[in-house]
Point group: C2
Chain length 277, copies 2
């Protein structure tokens, strides 16, 4: 587990707020890895070894493991165990279900004795309301990262609806901040809408925001920082494909490091500009 204070310390120490997304697709990893007993685990280990001094979080995307059945789940469990303790481990699972079911999902991802996995944080979908969210808070020191504004085309279908209490994603921010404090609750905010970070900070001034959409999805880091950073940094910026698939060859881990270093260097500049370091 990693507290808000520890997370901020890691950001200052590493001069980085990078999250490496482990969306590891067995069909996209270098083919020489297929000779290993668990090619996905081997790939992840090498990516982690090559980037752990440059990032403060890792985020395996559960779907990429689940789709391989038992062997995929084993890769996820073993990847979870391998993640460095000084990094925030996020399971990108987008779960969201009623109370007694959310309790089971919390057990799945937070209770190592039950499932083999012990992540620090889980992404959760808000549609079913507080029931879907609060059961995860029963695990002390664990984090919920609630979907607010996402970066794909479908985000326009519902998240921007004008409601009686503001845009739907604004209502999500307003309500959810009454369910948990900034020490337990983060939000997913898509980086393709960087000007909206100003608006988001009105409702969630202190919460960390997990920002996908840098790299392969095309967000602009410096804009995100300009509008979204707070006094504690308050941002965790994720890059997945641009890092982990930077090369398809034997040099994939070096290439991943090169990409991560490039982002970390840009992040260092932003942290200095904001006088956080």
């Amino acid at each position: 587990m990693i507290s808000r204070q520890q997370l901020i310390e890691q950001i200052k120490l590493k001069k980085s707020f990078l999250c490496v997304g482990l969306d590891t697709d067995i069909e996209k990893i270098p083919s020489f890895l297929l000779d290993y007993p668990d090619p996905v685990l081997e790939f992840n280990k090498r990516i982690i070894d090559a980037t752990e001094d440059l990032c403060i979080a890792y985020k395996p995307n559960s779907a990429f493991y689940e789709c391989r059945g038992i062997s995929g789940l084993q890769s996820l469990i073993d990847t979870c165990k391998y993640l460095p303790k000084n990094c925030l481990s996020i399971i990108d699972a987008k779960r969201g279900d009623m109370g007694n079911t959310s309790e089971m999902y919390a057990k799945t991802f937070f209770d190592e004795a039950a499932s083999g996995m012990n992540f620090d944080a889980i992404t959760v979908s808000p549609y079913m309301g507080h029931d879907a969210v609060t059961p995860y808070l029963k695990y002390p020191d664990k984090w919920i990262i609630l979907l607010a504004l996402t970066s794909s085309a479908g985000s326009k279908d519902f998240q921007y609806l004008e409601t009686e209490a503001g845009l739907l994603y604004e209502v999500v921010l307003q309500k959810a901040t009454t369910w948990a404090g900034a020490d337990r609750l983060m939000f997913v905010v898509g980086a393709t809408k960087s000007t909206e970070f100003t608006n988001i900070r009105k409702y969630a001034p202190n919460n960390f925001l997990l920002v996908p959409g840098i790299g392969a999805q095309g967000g602009n880091l410096s804009e995100v920082c300009h509008y979204g950073m707070n006094a504690d940094c308050g941002l965790i910026v994720n890059a997945s494909r641009s890092i982990i698939y930077a090369s398809k060859g034997k040099d994939f881990a070096d290439a991943a490091r090169h990409e991560a270093l490039n982002l970390q260097q840009q992040m260092k500049v932003e942290l200095e500009k904001a006088e956080i370091i």
Copy 2:
């Protein structure tokens, strides 16, 4: 797989629109089953054997399996294989993520060669919009069951918000019915709001509605039918705990059958009343 027409035929044949929810919690099943190699699978098999002539669908709740890690997933895979082919097999997974991730979840639950599982239908959360939904439609003949109105307390947080285009759940119904036809798309509609079925039928006259909340959650079957049934029945009513945990003893399967039969008999009356059979 089971088409809309086949589903309607099964409803007429069995005089039932019951779905048995396999929310199987290893801590709640009769203790003598713990001597079996896979107690959850053994429990599910006996529940299925005892109820398959009385119901037209089964719905394992993914969380209850995932929380047991590898052995839980194995129970789910083996349960999926055991489900009778003339029943609709629904994985209650409440997934909802962007396009490339939804493709992976579709593979997880629909592609037996990839994961070991081949469900007919999956429950999906709408928050991320059409990206989160349409990838499942690439699998011919598979069903999406989209969350519209849920039955737990948290449903009031967002689903009833008044928006520029109607209540949020109404907008979900309006938009989603443009993404797929009633031959591929159903909706989850909580049974604790039976009078709202009239309203829901305005937007989704032909879609099947999966109705949880009968039994343990306290919904009223005859009200649901009065307001929600259409000419093809159009309802799949789920009961989980009230059936599967009807007895904690060695007679649990008989007790489950007794409960299922009770519901099926009530359903028969409703089908006759509506002149569907």
